[in-house]
Symmetry: C3
Subunit: 217 residues, 3 copies
């Protein structure tokens, strides 16, 4: 029960911070309060919904536990009235997104293991759960997808999920595996945001536009 409580707390935190990041996109796009609520709710529960659907655990979690939805709506409404306070909403959005990324990388991987997935599938499920909430948010809000960001992003989710899976398979208590996995993911993404860490990027030429390609043909 201790573990279940800890896992639920992390799941809740992930939903809340992603809901805030979704509502912040609502503020950047000057939506009305219902738009904030939609962006917050879809971003908050999006990653977990994709996870549940891919794992065959449907109806998805929020159909049975509507409290997740109510919290997303309340959080989004608070952002509607407070989004003018931070100096850079985009910066804040990236930090909330970072916490959600680290949380969902671990909880996504764990749910996959509980559903019988092996180590590789569990790590990939963690990465997909962590990144696709943000993808849905950015697609709905017509923002540049965070997965294209210059600083390490997917890598952070990968570190967190992989460390969690490795420690779990090594037999460590779940609380410790969960917290170390979460910590690793947040540390990597946070350091990337703070110091501008990035992996070597593909050094070839960038893609040409379609017009340039057509002129060459």
């Amino acid at each position: 029960m201790t573990f279940n409580t800890a896992a639920a707390v992390l799941d809740w935190l992930g939903v809340i911070v992603f809901a805030i990041s979704g509502a912040l996109v609502g503020s950047r796009k000057q939506m009305d309060i219902v738009g904030f609520a939609l962006m917050g709710t879809v971003t908050g529960v999006g990653g977990g919904s994709i996870r549940d659907v891919l794992l065959g655990k449907s109806p998805v979690f929020w159909v049975q536990e509507p409290a997740y939805l109510i919290v997303c709506v309340l959080v989004s409404a608070s952002v509607f009235f407070a989004a003018h306070l931070p100096q850079s909403r985009y910066r804040l959005l990236l930090w909330f997104d970072a916490v959600g990324l680290a949380l969902f990388a671990v909880t996504g991987a764990e749910r996959a293991m509980l559903a019988g997935a092996g180590a590789t599938a569990a790590v990939v499920m963690g990465v997909i759960t962590a990144t696709f909430g943000g993808v849905i948010r950015d697609v709905l809000g017509a923002e540049m997808p965070v997965v294209l960001s210059r600083e390490v992003y997917v890598t952070a989710a990968l570190c967190g999920a992989a460390l969690f899976v490795a420690l779990s398979l090594a037999g460590l208590p779940r609380e410790i595996s969960v917290l170390l996995g979460f910590g690793a993911g947040l540390l990597v993404r946070g350091a990337a945001l703070h110091w501008g860490w990035s992996l070597p990027r593909y050094r070839g030429r960038p893609g040409r536009t379609l017009e340039e390609i057509e002129q060459l043909d």
Copy 2:
């Protein structure tokens, strides 16, 4: 049986009007007739497919009932030959989208209740069913997402779904709950389109572009 017939009629209507809205995006992007058929079919059955998947009711409805697909293709082909007739296709698209929005808000909420969801989850499922057909259409067609539109949009789906759920829980006959919910959703969205209704929007500053953010850092 009367109810089942009425619900099926609304479902069919929703699929058809969303198929038309999808095919109209095909015409705006000057696709070929197969592109029209894809846009019409995906938009028509997209919202309901997401609903079924989230509720764990898969295979989704059109796998067992291919008539939905045939109608989507026929409707899209008709639009291919008739899309030059209306003076403003975008305006027409918004109206068909409005009818689909109101229909799917109610049928999505109802299916969720039949699947055992509580009031909150049912309302959210209605909103998601109503809005995500249009989201898929706009993403495929590289249009600006309708959920970002200035006039009330999500709010209309919310009103329809919430009224339907409230009336159902209050014990009203389903036919009446369905029709009032649908009417409320269409009225709100229609009035918004006609008179330009909008909720107070977030009044802070709009989001800066990524370039501006980088210059400030």
Copy 3:
């Protein structure tokens, strides 16, 4: 067993060529190697995941068979070191996408038939399986969706899926139906790429921008 082997080979090939096309988008957007791996993996297993979810066959295939994921990651990493070799990555991307399109049109339709779907639903499932891997890739990579391409694209998937379903229902051996369906899809898309084939496009006026629409209102 021969058939199962043949089907599995095609499925594997489809996953690999789509993984390459995803990694090529990663190179066009100058991502790091983990970004390549995400783009390759999501594009490679995306179409099949949507197919499995819509058919109610979840957990999706790669949860039980992580080898698909490992291959996607290895393929993507190879592209990271070799993407500078081809003269036009976009051209190469389109050809790999074409092979994947033809493969998934057939395997998607076949899985639908095995799951009990009728002819129409099977054809549509083939088209959706074949096109949505590319859609996810283009959305994640902020590329113009291939479904909007001027040359026949959806049509090729439709030809392949429809021919496969027709031959299967006519009682031909599965190996032959699969190979002819795949051949037809690849031939149509390949010819379109090579000679610029296109169906008559919608001849009315293109869509106006939202600004133009607002000025007219």
